[in-house]
């Protein structure tokens, strides 16, 4: 029972990342009709915003080390700590959550530039062209990041308050022996909050209403004198923000490296297809579902019965879903039917 709870948490956690990326992919596909292979790169860029913010915060100066008395010793101390003492130390400690403030405008800008500069020219080109050009873009972004930050992963610590493990078992009344990393619980909560925010934005604001109307029937909305293209561009920016935040908050879990985007992209596409192309709830549900399935498959008990199942479960499920229910779990009729 303990193990099952742990695996569910693990799965939901990873599923949260899948769901956030898949949500953005679906938004872009549903509005602009563009298949964005560079979405993983946006996820990675978000992670590297966190890296950059931390680097800026920890710009250091040399200060005489008082604890060494035999000789003149110096140690690196961040300026923030020199100037603000404990407050400065706390700011550095909280660098990952703080970088959210920077990530939102940066990712929005990147998304808008990408859409206006490149994607816009591909609305009417075949899907294969869209895949190819965004695939090229993904390579370019990835290589630039590699050139700037190097090929090695750069670990990002979570704030001290959230490092270490939480006793989840007690929470559910299952005894004290289920420990789970606190930050991953935070991530789970965060992803649910972002998903809720996106859905309520689309559901309860006028802007969201127009966007939904545009997704359903673009032409009619245009006939009503609404500039739907402009709104769809903003939706692209929004999707970029969602992907970026997903990557940013994931940094304490896996250290950012230049190929993390590609790693997640393949799986997120599978998630989108399983959920149903163009269906937002489908993307979210499939994200959590596949994440959970994957973590159950990586249990030793399961691996003993079917060796290697943890490596292939997602792809296997995707194939079965596509063959049995080609539209995906919640796909709408008429969206990318062929």
């Amino acid at each position: 029972m303990d193990a099952i709870l742990l695996q569910i948490l693990n799965g939901l956690d990873k599923g949260g990342a899948y769901a956030l990326i898949a949500l953005g992919l679906t938004l872009i596909f549903g509005t602009l009709g563009v298949v964005n292979f560079a979405h993983g790169a946006l996820f990675m860029l978000g992670a590297f915003v966190a890296v950059s913010v931390r680097e800026v915060l920890t710009i250091s100066t040399k200060v005489k080390d008082e604890s060494v008395t035999f000789f003149e010793a110096f140690k690196e101390v961040p300026y923030l700590e020199v100037w603000f003492g404990d407050t400065g130390r706390m700011i550095i400690d909280w660098s990952v959550p703080i970088s959210i403030l920077f990530a939102i405008p940066i990712m929005l800008a990147i998304g808008l530039v990408m859409e206006r500069g490149l994607i816009r020219h591909f609305y009417r080109r075949p899907h294969s062209d869209q895949i190819l050009v965004t695939f090229g873009l993904a390579i370019v972004i990835q290589e630039i990041i590699k050139a700037v930050y190097g090929a090695n992963p750069i670990p990002q610590p979570a704030p001290e308050m959230f490092s270490g493990t939480a006793n989840v078992g007690a929470l559910f009344g299952l005894g004290d022996n289920i420990a789970y990393p606190k930050w991953r619980l935070v991530y789970l909560g965060f992803s649910i909050a972002v998903i809720a925010a996106v859905f309520s934005f689309l559901r309860f604001t006028t802007f969201g209403m127009v966007v939904r109307a545009g997704m359903a029937d673009r032409q009619t909305v245009q006939l009503l004198g609404i500039n739907i293209t402009k709104r769809f561009s903003i939706v692209f920016g929004l999707a970029a923000v969602v992907a970026g935040l997903a990557g940013l908050m994931y940094t304490p879990v896996i250290s950012p490296n230049y190929h993390m985007g590609m790693d997640f992209l393949v799986l997120s596409f599978v998630v989108v297809v399983v959920g149903g192309m163009g269906s937002l709830p489908g993307a979210v549900a499939a994200g959590f579902l596949l994440g959970t399935l994957q973590s159950f498959a990586s249990m030793n008990e399961v691996k003993q019965i079917i060796p290697g199942i943890d490596q292939v479960i997602i792809y296997l499920v995707a194939m079965i879903v596509l063959l049995v229910r080609p539209r995906g779990l919640m796909g709408r009729k008429g969206v990318m039917e062929d």
């Binding site: 020219h121 294969s128 390579i139 596409f269 192309m277 290697g308 490596q311 997602i314 995707a318």
Partner: protein, 373 residues
């Protein structure tokens, strides 16, 4: 829409010219510094891979993102024959092509139920699955991360056992790949490339080929005429999978080892790049694209900051300090950045690749002539 004019005679000329260009590569590549066997083998092997990919993508219109899996299957099958039976490449390559064909049949049967982006994602998923399996459960067959290698102690049933410490070499009835100054291996690859090119040409010109182009143009309409389109698409998929398997076999024949990294989806992406860069749907384009990418990969990877500084020595120092770091982003380890940029530019401005560029230039000149008259 550009319509290609051809006659049996012009086709024959094309094959002859193509063969001549390929066979004379050791001579005319000399000034480019690319006339060494290892690189030329790679030209031929990846050319073959791209020709096969083009039959599926260029002619039939299915964009597969998992073609590297067939390279992997071909390589593994070939190396296993080397290990178990003989170091002669003929049976090994036959096994490689057949195995990849069978694998393509299974994969194609599943993936071809869907078209468009779904097909791309299904192939991607299947290839990624085989890659993961090769690294985990299938390690007894694939040797996981170390890769599959031939050893002196392998039980080669059809051959006399080797003494311990002797390195097993692949051969074609006694002709070793490194004979003739390394050119033996290249000519074997070249022969397969020419053969593959000829077969692709015959397929393109056949009724079967026009069927495939019909599928690409409008699959629904093909179906409305009462035709079952699935077998045609499946045949194209299997043929192109066998081409990839042959390329993988050749890789293993030239250098008898096989590793799972050949199956990674970036490798599948590479063949897409080659085909697009050269020209989708054309016969020669994919070969040109493959050769161009492999050539520039070789050249660009060798350039680093020091070499650049040497070249630009005539510039004043402050300019040098400015330009060299920027340029070195694009060369050496940053070669993929250049590749990605070039690829994007090609997709945006020249979707037909190098071949379309060539045709546009030619048309412009011939139109100018017509205008003068």
């Amino acid at each position: 829409m550009h319509i290609e004019r051809f006659t049996p005679k012009s086709d024959l000329m094309m094959v002859l010219i193509f063969s001549a260009v390929i066979l004379l590569m050791p001579i005319w590549l000399e000034p480019f510094g690319a006339a060494y066997p290892d690189l030329m083998q790679r030209f031929a092997i990846f050319g073959l891979f791209a020709i096969g990919f083009n039959i599926l993508f260029g002619q039939t219109g299915y964009l597969s993102f998992g073609h590297a899996a067939f390279i992997g299957v071909g390589s593994y099958a070939t190396v296993w024959i080397f290990k178990l039976y003989t170091m002669n490449i003929v049976p090994a390559m036959i096994a490689g092509v057949i195995m990849s064909g069978v694998f393509a049949l299974v994969v194609g049967y599943i993936c071809l139920r869907r078209t468009g982006i779904y097909f791309s994602i299904l192939t991607l998923a299947l290839a990624q699955m085989s890659y993961n399996l090769a690294y985990s459960v299938l390690t007894p067959i694939t040797m996981g991360e170390t890769g599959l290698q031939v050893e002196a102690a392998d039980p080669r049933v059809w051959e006399a056992p080797l003494a311990a410490g002797e390195v097993p070499r692949t051969h074609l009835f006694g002709l070793e790949m490194t004979d003739l100054g390394g050119l033996a291996g290249f000519y074997i690859c070249a022969a397969f490339l020419i053969l593959g090119f000829y077969v692709a040409l015959r397929i393109t010109r056949s009724p079967f080929g026009s069927m495939l182009r019909g599928l690409k143009t409008n699959q629904n309409r093909m179906a409305y005429t009462g035709l079952n389109t699935r077998p045609y698409a499946l045949a194209a998929f299997v043929i192109s999978g066998m081409y990839a398997g042959l390329a993988g076999s050749l890789m293993a024949a030239m250098d008898p080892l096989a590793g799972a990294e050949r199956m990674q989806w970036t490798a599948s992406g590479e063949v897409v790049l080659m085909t697009i860069l050269g020209g989708v749907g054309t016969l020669v384009g994919p070969v040109i694209g493959a050769a161009a990418i492999k050539y520039f990969e070789n050249i660009f990877s060798a350039i680093d900051g020091a070499v650049l500084t040497g070249w630009l020595d005539f510039l004043p120092d402050f300019l040098l300090d400015l330009i060299v770091p920027v340029l070195s982003l694009f060369v050496g380890k940053g070669w993929h950045l250049t590749l990605g940029l070039v690829f994007m530019l090609v997709v945006i401005f020249l979707p037909g690749g190098i071949m379309e560029g060539y045709r546009r230039i030619r048309d412009r000149f011939s139109n100018a002539d017509a205008g003068n008259k």
